[in-house]
């Protein structure tokens, strides 16, 4: 992705290549983010569409105090909130209880009666590298499916942090959640995806 200066200049000048590049790069996470506020996929598409229309209108006033992406995503959150309220659907981002419980099955650790309580009963098995193109493809499919299975809040935080590469601070501001909450949600999401990968590699290993 080009630098913000280039992107902003492109949007202002009406450069179609710039806009197509943004559409390709950001639409996925924008849809995911929208989806946590509105009830249908069609509605989420409209939120993304209305966001871009608002961006065309507002780009002349963009001052670069945040990154362009953060600015666009804030507009999206506002558009989506308005529509979500309308549809009576709101995922409670604020005042939310972090999900409880350990992210790794407690039975994998030694119990209180053991000389080493809380230690691994058996180490996790090492995963193979995925230089092989077929395997790499399967891993990507496994990860994509695992993300789809996550609760919406976890999907959004994981997408913003690990696919879009946004900072923890930006994500907290964007979603209006505390640093601690953001981290708990992200950790649960990553641990869940790791679990799916582990099951995949264990099975794939058994087959080969």
């Amino acid at each position: 992705m080009p630098s913000d200066d280039v992107l902003v200049a492109g949007l202002r000048a009406g450069d179609e290549e710039t806009f197509a590049c943004l559409l390709n790069g950001w639409s996925g996470s924008m849809l995911r983010l929208a989806r946590t506020f509105v009830s249908t996929a069609a509605s989420a598409e409209e939120v993304v569409q209305d966001t871009w229309l608002a961006v065309f209108q507002g780009i002349g006033r963009f001052e670069g105090r945040s990154s362009l992406q953060t600015w666009v995503y804030r507009i999206l959150v506002n558009v989506a909130r308005r529509r979500g309220t309308h549809e009576q659907r709101t995922v409670p981002w604020t005042s939310l209880l972090p999900d409880e419980g350990p992210t790794v099955d407690p039975s994998r650790f030694r119990g209180a009666e053991d000389p080493y309580p809380g230690g691994w009963r058996a180490f996790p098995e090492r995963w193979p590298t995925t230089e092989n193109e077929v395997l790499a493809h399967e891993v990507r499919a496994t990860v994509a499916a695992a993300i789809e299975k996550l609760p919406p809040r976890q999907q959004v935080v994981l997408t913003l942090r690990d696919i879009d590469g946004q900072s923890a601070d930006d994500v907290c501001v964007l979603l209006g959640i505390s640093t601690a909450n953001q981290r708990v949600i992200l950790h649960r999401a990553r641990a869940a995806v790791r679990g799916h990968l582990e099951r995949y590699f264990t099975t794939a290993g058994a087959e080969s």
């Binding site: 559409l23 809380g118 180490f123 995963w127």
Partner: protein, 76 residues
Amino acid sequence: MTCAELVELVTAFLDGALDPETEERFVHHLSICEGCDIYVEQMRRTVAEVGQVGPEGLSGETRDRLLDAFRTFPRD
């Protein structure tokens, strides 16, 4: 720090958000525990693999409509 405790701190560790004392215990534990070393490596790998996932996209229809709107948006 036990292994069961360490696995819950991996994201905070990767974000550099542990307090110095906890970070020291975390790093010390990692240096002597192969199981946790593997676990942290797998979390790093998970983050990297998530980053490889191609984003889903808008429908062709919405995309065309937006490209069209962008093309015809009045600019001064």
